[in-house]
Symmetry: C2
Subunit: 429 residues, 2 copies
């Protein structure tokens, strides 16, 4: 269960401002439900939960199981929405220092030649058993021509072809549009396995499609639990949208009141990548027509020692969103130290998680006292179930909040601007 | 050589506003040089360059060489300024997939019990040769009682003591204040090796002290080049501070003009951690008295696919700082593909770095057209020399810019607020 607490934001809002925002949020939710808003042709992320297709999950699971048995390394080649969701879930539910099953490596998400060269050097080294590494590549791109991904895939495919002359075609899996696009040509030629990205789902809303689900399954995470908990959150929120409407209204009212920065933060370092997913989801959806709160990300208590000062006392134009987790399965209890040189024996018997929780509470109080409004989102624990709920919750929240702002949540017209300039410099005709 | 280009920021500033800011920046620079500003007791980071102590470098180098020969894993246990500088330099100059010499792991920078548990699980596993891992720990804390670091060090020290009963005391190195503090007690008891953090250098200005230099040396980076290039940048800027004054004036004038967000970005993913170092340096220095530009970090082109839309068209209250690198030693050339399915053959013969550079130029143009002022910082290449210069350049810039803002660059009074609340919740007496 996700709990949302907006009280430490509302205390900074006048009743009038909030109640007006609330009315707007109610209308915004109707726009989503009744498909009357801008960009309504992009609501596929809702449809796939309204009418779940278990056959696709089965297909994903079966190929993933197969790969988990064979692969040392599984490379996810994609950028933006084509990797942020998978990375978020895999890091949230995995180990910090290597998981069972294949090592998951991301590529195709920038144009660092050094990164690719280092990666190939690493792939060239033998695995733990001293054998050549068994590598699989999942390339993810609707068009197949996304520059970073396509160029990296050229390099990786060449290496794969040289390395695995016998079965390279079984080792490349394409996640792409149903028809058309550069990857479908290759699929026809080589017989690569293929997953389809629905036409009506945009990149940042695609984690519950094969874009996200396939890498997540290869990481050994139960995608059925993830997916069907999103389904039940979908059903819950269709019946009672109060939680979403209240959140969207609060965030919109804060924007209306002059807040232009939302620091998305957590006290759980394994949720850092989830912050990155949320950053894209919110930022790319709301940041248009000169509007929106810039979504910055932070991990506490780490970053309290870097940007904490600013948040406490710098320019007062920010709000904070805390993603917290109530319990931790793996924790460590502080032991009594005879010498007590650090004076911390008063904490003995407490777990790190308990201390971390007090750090969160202390921070919340201090930042509230420092006039930073905040919204607190709590998950009971970190598992596929709660992350599934979380994903759909924020997809819906984003749509509703953007309609409050009066922007189309589903397009990204500004992203074309740098591409146009770049392609011109690169001499593309 | 670092080049600074402020022209794409100045085009957004009136002559009047800039010339007033310039006068303020000249005075601010004098405050630093003549030690007349607030917090002037914290100028030790300048003194150590004015009067280099080669004996310390020798001592660091010699112990680091020793450890490089023996260690599989070297753990840096510290938070904030006690690890961000070392991480920045090590990532900037290392490989993405493992370096020669010991693996460097950071700990003590948050309170995740899961992280520590996963780390210990990893340390418990044998090394590549099937032997128990040889581990060294460098704990870094002036007081020795920084909560995250001290608690993690308790756990690590216990593990080390059990794992290396014979020589644990040779495997723990403390970087701490000259006298007093919790670590000095342990040093006296156990004979741990010790490096001193000068009293007059704050955490975020400490990368060129043993705090940063020792881990950097263990990573195999030439600390003499790093340090002495900072020394020569110091000397250069004492003689001619025009570069710094112009930069500080430009940034201050943008703040004065209503900019409250500075997106620190780079097209080189290995500079991501350098962005983290800069984020602390700027944010913790300027974010006080309700002033300052919030320093967000981004890595392009990766993040153009997440926050690019917002930067192009969202709320117009931001500036951008681009850290760019002119040449890349390791790169890859795009090869012609017979099938040209992705239509990218027009790029064949170009390196990734050349394409990345055009992505940077295209982005700069597009964001300028989108009314985002920007400052461009260029390094010739990524090596110890240029990073050394870069570090001192930004330390000085931060001090001068903060005096323009009228804030003490060297304190962080707001950081105490959450600690006070937290300690109360934890029942500290």
């Amino acid at each position: 269960m996700i709990e949302i607490n907006t009280s430490r934001a509302k205390q900074f809002l006048s009743e009038d401002r909030f109640s007006q925002a609330y009315k707007q949020a109610e209308k915004a939710f109707e726009l989503v439900q009744q498909r009357n808003g801008e960009g309504t042709e992009w609501l596929g992320w809702r449809d796939l939960l309204a009418d779940p297709n278990d056959a696709i999950l089965e297909q994903i699971d079966s190929l993933a199981t197969n790969i988990r048995e064979q692969a040392d390394v599984f490379i996810v080649c994609g950028i933006g929405g084509s990797y942020l969701g998978a990375r978020a879930v895999i890091e949230a539910l995995g180990s910090f220092f290597g998981n069972d099953g294949p090592e998951i490596i991301f590529a195709g998400h920038h144009m660092s030649g050094k990164y690719l060269k280092d990666l190939i050097g690493y792939l060239d080294k033998p695995n733990k058993e001293g054998e050549p590494k068994s590598v699989f590549v999942n390339v993810i791109s609707k068009s197949g021509t996304t520059l970073e991904t396509a160029l990296s895939f050229r390099v990786l495919r060449k290496w794969m072809t040289e390395q695995f002359p016998e079965d390279v075609d079984d080792r490349i899996i394409c996640t792409t549009s149903k028809e058309g696009g550069a990857l479908n040509e290759l699929i026809d030629q080589h017989g690569y396995k293929k997953f389809i990205i629905p036409d009506d789902v945009g990149g940042r809303f695609s984690v519950l499609t094969p874009v996200g689900l396939f890498p997540i399954a290869v990481a050994g995470i139960d995608i059925r639990t993830l997916f069907y908990e999103a389904v039940s959150k979908y059903e819950e929120l269709e019946e009672d949208a109060e939680q979403i409407i209240d959140y969207a209204a609060t965030k919109y009212a804060l924007f209306d009141d002059g807040k232009t920065l939302d620091v998305l933060t957590t006290f759980e370092p394994q949720l850092e990548a989830l912050g990155g997913w949320l950053q894209q989801l919110l930022g790319e959806s709301e940041g248009k027509q000169g509007k929106g709160m810039f979504p910055a990300t932070a991990t506490y208590s780490t970053d309290l020692h870097s940007i904490g000062q600013f948040i406490q006392q710098g320019t007062r134009n920010m709000m904070e969103t805390f993603i917290t987790v109530k319990s931790e399965e793996k924790s460590i209890t502080i032991e009594e130290l005879p010498e007590n040189n650090d004076g911390l024996n008063y904490l003995s018997g407490k777990t790190f998680h308990e201390i971390n929780t007090q750090a969160f509470r202390g921070t919340l109080q201090a930042h509230t006292d420092g006039d930073v409004p905040s919204i607190v989102v709590s998950l009971d624990k970190l598992n596929a179930q709660h992350i599934g709920e979380f994903i759909y919750f924020y997809e819906l929240l984003t749509a509703v909040y953007c309609y409050c702002l009066g922007v189309n949540p589903f397009n990204q017209p500004g992203v074309e601007d740098y591409k146009r300039e770049m392609y011109q410099l690169l001499g593309k005709h």
